[in-house]
C-alpha cells in the first residue's frame, strides 16, 4: 500500500481545500511536515484515520464528526446546508489505484452522517457496504496505530508491545494483515465438507453395525469438538473482556504507573522531610546551647580581628624590648671601652679613638629614643580580658559552621517540602480514584486474563486430541466403504491435517520473519550495543534479547520507542510490498544519537516515511544533513489563527 494523495476540505484546522501530494522520487522517499505544536501536524493523521475508518480519537476518546468540521468554515457558512467537510485519500496497491472519499455535511437536513465512496482505477464506486472490508484488507484498523505512528502516545505502544495480555487482542489483526486467516478459512471449509461426506456415508451404510457405532462415536466426538471450540471462544471473550476492563481502569487513572510512582515518591519525600527536620532540630539545639554560652557570637569576627591585632602588637613590642635591651648592652660595653685603652677581653690595644666610641654611643642612644616604648604588660592584660567574657574563636567557627549546615539543611528541606507539595498536587489531579483499589482490580483482571490464556491453551490442546480421534473415526468409517470412496473420503482428512500443520508452520515462519526484520532495524537504531536483537512472542509482544539468549527486563522509554519502531518496520516489511509510515513527533523521548539513527533507518528502510516534526525536535536549516539527499518533499504547516492553518509545499 502506497499513499499517493490526500485532499482535506474544511477538516479540523484546514479551512477550504488543501492537497498533499505524497508522490516522491524513489531515491528520496522521505516527506517532512514541519510545524509547531498546535499548528496542524497531527490533523493530517486524523484526516487519514477518519477517511479510512470513519473515526479518529484524541486521548483515547472518539472525536465526533461534527467536532472535526473547521470552526471558521462552520461560522462563515451562515447555515448553508451544503457546507461540506471531506477527506479524500488515494493509494496504490499491486498496480491498482484506490480512491476513498469520505464526506460529512454537518448542516444537512435530518441527522447528518458521513458518507463514503471508494473507486478502484477510476471505475464505478464499489458498494458502500464493502468499503470497510477493503480498508481492513489494506490496513487493519486495530494496527493502524503502527502505521500512523504517534510519538506522543509512545506509552500506549510500549504497553501493547511489552504486555502479553494487552498485545493478544492485536494478534488476530496482525495475523489478518499477514494473510493467516485464509488458511483458517480453508481448514473450516474442508472440515465442513468432510463432515458432510461422513454424514452421507454413515446414512448410506446404516446396516453396517461397525460403521454405525463409529458414526455415533464420530457424532459425539464432533459434539465434543464443538463444545471445546465454544468453550475456547468463551475463554477468548473472557480474555477480551478482561483486557477491555483493564483498559477502562487504565483510563480511569489515566496512568496508574505514574500514580504509583507518585505515591512512592511522596512516601520517600515524607521520609526525607522528616529526616531533614530531625537533623535541623538537632543542629538547632546545638546552636542554641552555644549561643547561651557565647553571647559575644554576633561580634566574634570583630573581636577576632582585635585579638589578632593585639597578639601582633605584643609580638612587635616584645621585639622592641629585646632590641632595646641589646642596645643597652652595647652602650654599656662602649662605656667601659671608653674608660680603657685596651680590650677587656683580649687585651689588644684599641685602634679606634674615643671620639668614635662616643659617636657610636650617641647613635645607639638615638636608636633607643626612636624605638617606641610599648607597655607589653598592658597589652597582655588586654589579651587576658578576652578570657573575662569567654571568647573562643573556635567556638564561633563551630557555631558558624553549624549555622551554615542548618541553613543548607533548611534549603534542602524547602526543596523537599516543595517537591512533596508538587507530588501531592499532581496526585490530587487523579481525582477521587482510589489507586489502591484500582491496582487491586487491575491485578485481579490480569490474573483473570492469565487464567483465560491458560484455558485457551488447554482447549487448543484438547481440540488437537479430539481432532485426532475424529481422524481415527473417519478412518474407521473409511474402512467400511469401497476403496474408491475411501480414497475420496480420506482425502478430506489428509487435507485438513495438511492445512492445520501448514497454518502452524506458517504462523511460526511469519513471526520469525517479523522478528528477523525487526531485529535488523532494532540493531541499526539502538545505541546500546549489548543487545543481540528482539524476540517477538506469539502475541507479537516485543522483548529485548541479550546475547546469551535471555531477555532484558529493563526497558526505558527510549528503548520502548526504538523497539516499537523496529516491530512496525518488521511488520511492514513482512506484510506489504510497499510499506508506508506516518510518524508524528518521532523524536520525543529520543536522545540525539537515537534521533540520527531513526533518520538513518527512515532513509534506508525502503518505506515511504513521512515525518511530522516541530522545532523542538528538528530544525530544517540545522538538521537537514541527518537525511542526506533522501528528502523528497518538505511541507510547512503554519497557523493563521486559532481556527485556521495552512499546509504549503516548501521544498520539492
Amino acid at each position: 500500500m502506497r499513499i499517493t494523495k490526500l485532499i482535506v476540505k474544511n477538516f479540523m484546522a484546514y479551512k477550504g481545500v488543501h492537497e498533499i501530494d505524497f508522490t516522491v522520487p524513489k531515491h528520496s522517499p522521505l516527506i517532512l511536515f514541519l510545524g509547531e505544536n498546535g499548528h496542524g501536524k497531527t490533523t493530517v493523521q486524523h484526516a487519514c484515520k477518519w477517511c479510512l475508518y470513519e473515526e479518529t480519537k484524541e486521548k483515547n476518546e472518539r472525536i465526533p464528526a461534527v467536532s472535526l468540521v473547521n470552526r471558521k468554515a462552520l461560522a462563515e457558512s451562515d447555515g448553508n446546508q451544503n457546507l461540506e467537510m471531506s477527506v479524500e485519500m488515494e493509494w496504490e496497491e499491486s498496480g491498482d489505484t484506490y480512491n476513498l472519499k469520505r464526506t460529512f455535511e454537518p448542516l444537512s437536513q435530518g441527522l447528518p452522517v458521513p458518507r463514503a465512496r471508494l473507486r478502484i482505477n477510476g471505475d464505478n464506486p464499489v458498494p458502500v457496504s464493502a468499503i470497510p472490508a477493503y480498508v481492513q484488507r489494506f490496513l487493519a484498523k486495530e494496527i493502524s496505530h503502527f502505521f500512523f505512528f504517534d510519538g506522543e502516545t509512545q506509552d500506549e505502544f510500549d504497553k501493547m508491545t511489552s504486555n502479553h495480555n494487552s498485545a493478544a487482542f492485536i494478534r488476530s489483526e496482525i495475523e489478518k494483515s499477514l494473510s493467516i486467516p485464509v488458511i483458517s478459512d480453508g481448514i473450516n471449509w474442508l472440515e465442513q465438507k468432510q463432515s458432510e461426506e461422513s454424514a452421507a456415508l454413515i446414512k448410506a451404510n446404516l446396516h453396517n453395525d461397525k460403521m454405525r457405532k463409529a458414526g455415533i462415536a464420530l457424532e459425539n466426538a464432533r459434539k465434543e469438538l464443538n463444545t471445546i471450540q465454544q468453550e475456547g471462544l468463551l475463554q477468548v471473550a473472557r480474555l477480551q473482556e478482561a483486557n477491555t476492563r483493564i483498559e477502562i481502569l487504565e483510563g480511569q487513572v489515566s496512568n496508574i504507573e505514574e500514580a504509583q510512582q507518585l505515591n512512592e515518591e511522596i512516601s520517600e519525600l515524607k521520609g526525607r522531610v522528616a529526616i531533614l527536620r530531625d537533623k535541623r532540630n538537632e543542629k538547632l539545639s546545638l546552636i542554641k546551647d552555644h549561643l547561651g554560652d557565647f553571647f559575644w557570637v554576633p561580634l566574634a569576627p570583630r573581636l577576632h580581628d582585635i585579638y589578632q591585632s593585639l597578639s601582633q602588637d605584643i609580638l612587635k613590642a616584645e621585639k622592641i624590648v629585646q632590641a632595646n635591651q641589646s642596645i643597652h648592652a652595647r652602650i654599656s660595653l662602649l662605656e667601659q671601652l671608653r674608660k680603657q685603652d685596651k680590650c677587656p677581653l683580649c687585651d689588644s690595644v684599641y685602634e679606634i679613638t674615643i671620639s668614635t666610641i662616643l659617636d657610636e654611643i650617641s647613635k645607639l642612644k638615638s636608636d633607643l629614643e626612636s624605638n617606641e616604648i610599648v607597655d607589653v604588660a598592658k597589652l597582655r592584660a588586654k589579651l587576658r580580658d578576652f578570657e573575662s567574657f569567654g571568647f573562643k574563636y573556635e567556638a564561633y567557627v563551630t557555631v558558624r559552621d553549624l549555622q551554615k549546615d542548618f541553613d543548607a539543611d533548611g534549603a534542602d528541606l524547602a526543596i523537599a517540602t516543595q517537591n512533596l507539595d508538587d507530588r501531592q498536587s499532581q496526585l490530587s489531579l487523579y481525582g477521587n480514584t482510589d489507586i489502591q483499589n484500582v491496582v487491586i482490580s487491575m491485578k485481579a483482571l490480569v490474573a483473570e486474563a492469565e487464567v483465560a490464556n491458560k484455558n485457551i491453551e488447554q482447549y487448543k490442546s484438547d481440540e488437537v486430541e479430539v481432532r485426532k480421534r475424529i481422524t481415527k473415526l473417519e478412518s474407521d468409517i473409511g474402512k467400511g466403504i469401497s476403496p474408491q470412496k475411501r480414497i475420496s473420503h480420506n482425502a478430506f482428512a489428509y487435507l485438513v491435517n495438511l492445512f492445520v500443520e501448514a497454518k502452524e508452520d506458517y504462523v511460526t515462519l511469519v513471526r520469525k520473519q517479523v522478528e528477523t526484520y525487526a531485529s535488523e532495524t532494532f540493531l541499526k537504531i539502538i545505541s546500546d550495543k549489548k543487545y543481540s536483537g528482539l524476540q517477538i512472542n506469539e502475541n507479537f509482544g516485543v522483548e529485548l534479547l541479550l546475547p546469551d539468549g535471555s531477555v532484558d527486563p529493563l526497558r526505558s522509554t527510549g528503548q520502548g520507542k526504538v523497539s516499537t519502531i523496529a516491530l512496525v518496520s518488521g511488520l511492514i516489511r513482512t506484510a506489504m510490498d510497499e510499506g508506508f509510515i506516518l510518524m508524528d513527533t518521532p523524536f520525543v523521548s529520543l536522545d540525539l544519537g537515537h534521533r540520527q539513527a531513526v533518520c538513518k533507518w527512515a532513509v534506508e528502510s525502503g518505506f515511504k516515511v513521512s515525518l511530522f516534526m516541530h522545532s523542538g525536535e528538528f530544525i530544517w536549516e540545522r538538521d537537514h544533513s541527518f537525511f542526506g539527499d533522501s528528502v523528497g518533499k518538505v511541507y510547512r504547516i503554519r497557523k493563521i489563527d486559532n481556527d485556521e492553518s495552512t499546509i504549503e509545499l516548501e521544498t520539492a
Binding site: K288, L291, F295, R400, Q403
Partner: protein
C-alpha cells in the same frame, strides 16, 4: 572595674517581653543571655539607639549584667573602644535596640539564629 552607672538595670516593656519570649522559644536559657546577645548584636549591626526610650522595669543588678564572671560585657566593650563611663548607659540602649531588632525579625518570620550567628 568601677563605673558610675546605677546599680539596677532598667528595661523597657518591650525588651522585657522579648527577653521572655526568646527564652520561652528556647533560644536562650535565661532572659539575661538574650539581653547580652542583643547588646552584642546591636554593636555588630551598628543599630541606632533610642535615647528617649522609657524603661520602667527594674530588672537586674548592673554587675550581674555587665560584670558577670566569664561573661564580662564591660571588658568586651572596653576592648571595642567604649569609654568606661558610657558602658552602662550606652550598653542599655544598645541592648534595647538589639532586642527590638530581633523581635521585628522574629515577627517577620526571619530566622533569628542566622542573624545572630551570621552577623559580621
Amino acid at each position: 572595674m568601677e563605673s558610675s552607672s546605677p546599680k539596677n538595670i532598667m528595661v523597657s516593656d518591650r525588651a522585657n517581653e522579648v527577653c521572655d519570649v526568646l527564652r520561652k522559644l528556647g533560644y536562650f536559657s535565661d532572659a539575661l543571655e538574650a539581653y547580652r546577645t542583643a547588646l552584642c548584636l546591636a554593636i555588630s549591626l551598628n543599630l541606632e539607639v533610642d535615647t528617649t526610650l522609657k524603661m520602667p522595669n527594674n530588672k537586674w543588678d548592673t554587675a550581674a549584667v555587665f560584670r558577670s564572671e566569664g561573661k564580662n560585657i564591660e571588658s568586651l566593650m572596653l576592648l571595642l573602644g567604649y569609654k568606661p563611663e558610657e558602658i552602662v548607659p550606652q550598653g542599655k540602649l544598645l541592648a534595647e535596640a538589639g532586642l527590638k531588632y530581633l523581635d521585628e525579625k522574629r515577627l517577620a518570620n526571619v530566622d533569628i539564629l542566622s542573624i545572630i550567628a551570621g552577623a559580621k
